[in-house]
Subunit: 452 residues, 2 copies
């Protein structure tokens, strides 16, 4: 018999991890709800017709596809095999596991648009699946934690996303830097350097500035056909520095002839204005014109959050998109959203010891006993403790006290009552605090008022 294992790239979550993950989810949820977002859930399985073509060719490959039920190969012959696995897939699989929460959300909006309060603000906390090569911090099954508003292009929404990021990070105790850019600034940039329509290539390259440095970025762009003139115009842009307001000024100068670039600046400045009306300090916010994040998708603001005290990728990201539902035949719905990367946030909090103590979901009081009679004596007490809301257990077997105390230890149970014949005779019980070692002799009512 082979040893059982989990599927590569997937994980079990035991009680301790569950509690910590739920702490993160709970924090984010409460912030989402405070800002008027409502929860929805969509199925794990979606029709492949819903999923395919939404994530680029690589994404299509990374989708987990579900074999059709029943005799799926009945009509398959050698010619089908000869056509290769991609074509074959379409003949034996109609369903896949969702790859993100955004596409199912778009499907949901299209299917329910007549019943939704528009603008529709929803949040969604569910697992998604990707057939990526598993590696440290990258899983094949992981939770996403998204909030989106669709049906408005008001920049109030962008500024509220910034507020939510602030509140979540502050509640979790994570020092962070929020980088903001705007797709229109990237477009403006390509216009300003005389490479109209090349913002995609430009963005992919300058997105790597942090990692590979200016020289390599310029090299890559030269290879991709950017003229020497364009590159010489780009060079000083890398040097744009100073406060956010100073950057705005320099960009406005640069974009004198780029209408779209000007629009990008205007949008971001409006977000800054709202933030100042909201009373948010901009200490944690940085305009970063090299931020691109899945450029093909975003049409306005682009967000990315980095944790300051830990070397790790971005822990949160998002942006505005103008055509969420166009792919399902409903054009004109603009939206803006944010996705918290719970696995990375977990790692950051663990490394920095940010989880609050005593968060375990566990029993508060365990009855131990010297035998069957003592166990029976405990039963009505157990019930009384539960009645006042105390999580309580009795060790269910007649066993050595040491074994029973080991159980309490392992489960991090704080209080133990050991029932022996003395206790049964007098009704005075010894309450032992397993953490401090303190012992107190009390009747059961007093124990309840102490723990209840």
């Amino acid at each position: 018999m082979s040893k059982p294992s989990v599927v590569r790239g997937t994980r079990d979550f035991g009680p301790e991890k569950m509690v910590r993950r739920n702490y993160i989810f709970g924090t984010i949820k409460s912030v989402f709800e405070k800002f008027g977002f409502q929860p929805i859930e969509t199925p794990a399985m979606e029709n492949l017709s819903t999923l395919m073509g939404k994530y680029g060719e690589e994404g299509d490959q990374l989708l987990f596809k579900i074999l059709n039920s029943g005799n799926f190969s009945e009509k398959i012959g050698q010619p089908d095999l000869d056509e290769g696995y991609k074509k074959l897939t379409t003949k034996i699989s109609e369903k896949g596991l969702k790859y993100d929460l955004t596409v199912p959300f778009a499907r949901y909006v299209v299917m329910n648009r007549n019943d939704l309060a528009m603008p529709f603000k929803r949040y969604q906390i569910q697992p998604v699946w990707r057939g990526d090569r598993p590696q440290k911090g990258r899983y094949r099954e992981f939770y996403q934690c998204d909030a989106d508003v669709v049906g408005t292009d008001s920049l109030i929404c962008e500024s509220e996303i910034v507020l939510m990021i602030h509140e979540v990070m502050q509640k979790l105790g994570i020092n962070f830097m929020l980088k903001i850019n705007n797709r229109k600034i990237l477009t403006g940039l390509s216009e300003a350097i005389g490479a109209v329509g090349e913002e995609g290539t430009l963005a992919v390259a300058i997105d790597k500035l942090d990692k590979i440095g200016k020289e390599k970025v310029l090299e890559e762009l030269a290879e991709k056909g950017f003229s020497a003139d364009s590159l010489s115009k780009l060079d000083p842009i890398f040097e744009i520095s100073g406060t956010n307001q100073e950057k705005f000024l320099k960009l406005e100068e640069l974009f004198q002839n780029s209408e779209i670039g000007q629009k990008g600046i205007a949008e971001l400045k409006q977000v800054w204005t709202y933030l100042s009306a909201f009373g948010v300090s901009e200490n944690n916010i940085e305009l970063d014109i090299t931020l691109a994040r899945g450029l093909s998708y975003y049409t306005g603001a682009i967000f990315e959050v980095k944790a300051l005290d830990v070397q790790i990728g971005s822990i949160t990201g998002g942006g505005r998109y103008d055509n969420l539902t166009g792919t399902f035949g409903v054009p004109g719905l603009s939206g803006v959203g944010i996705s918290f990367g719970v696995d990375r946030i977990y790692d950051v909090m663990e490394e920095l010891n940010l989880f609050p103590e005593n968060q375990s979901v566990t029993t508060k009081l365990l009855f131990c006993h010297f035998g069957e009679n003592e166990l029976n004596y405990a039963l009505p007490l157990l019930q009384k403790a539960r009645l006042v809301g105390v999580n309580t257990e009795v060790y269910p077997d007649v066993s050595k006290i040491k074994k029973q105390l080991d159980y309490a230890d392992k489960k991090k149970i704080q209080f133990v009552c050991i029932i022996g014949s003395d206790e049964m005779n007098t009704g005075i019980l010894t309450l032992k605090n397993m953490i401090s070692g303190e012992q107190e002799k009390l009747n059961f009512e007093d124990i309840l008022s102490k723990l209840g």
Copy 2:
């Protein structure tokens, strides 16, 4: 472009359903935790080697199987097709979606047994997937809500499961009948009627007593080869009635020569004794010797809960199994568990109007406004309201007031503040209660202390 749809047998859950489902989950969770159960989660995907052979041949067929990533058909040829889809499946699929929470739990216990506090009490609330034909109330993706104790055969655990069922149903407001049986009673029954080793066939037949009646049950058993003598002995057993204690007496008489039957009675009587020590009334509990529920699996107690005021199948079920982990090479772990059928509980509660009102996760206060200036005026107020924990929104676009109020209506927002020039000049705002229609003129501090 085809209209998007959900996969047949799966569902989206919008904000209203989410809140109601979370109410059920939350109620069950709090009871589980009160009894010392801790949460775990396992992945949606399991290796097929973990899942196959655990649910019978039909179960194997109903598993959703995931196509291997990459060029899965590279090594497949006509001979593989000729062997049929079942063999072919093993060559192109290694993973499946979990079918229940019990088998993944068993895998988890085996993989982590050295670290677990034994007896291990876990609960798990997650979706499972089954390729059943979808029909009313039966889905291909649905949540299970399980609690199990493994590593002890103490009947305290059975009685605590009864307590948990009582508490959950009582909290949800559902009138119920809990039916209890014991696998050993079914075995005893087959011995008592001279059909040793035939308890499987016997149980499958008498499980249908409710639905098809006594005559049909006897007919079925005759067809399966039960002798006339056996059937004539079985006949009076159907008539066993009276209180639980009267039934125990009659069965003890019947099982004079069946050691295992006697053991079954003794176990159940012990559970009853514990329940009375716990102070539980047995009004909602009925010994039902025809209850079988997946007999091949259970070895001791068998539970089933029916809602009394609605025509619907069982809403909760469970029992004791003695070899949970044997299939993974770790014998000797006895366990007992319960599974709450959340979809049916939902239907019962909806039909009987049992959901508490005002449970929606929504905004408490919406700022409406007559234009850009008024919107800007609202921003710092918005922030103040959130600071004291009030879920607050501002309508993000400049729109007609009617449209803004429609939004509040649709989202069931209770309070609305409309900002106009008067309000901006005086700082006195009108707080409108959208439910009662009441209006009050207050300054913002007073509004906050009213809503906070």
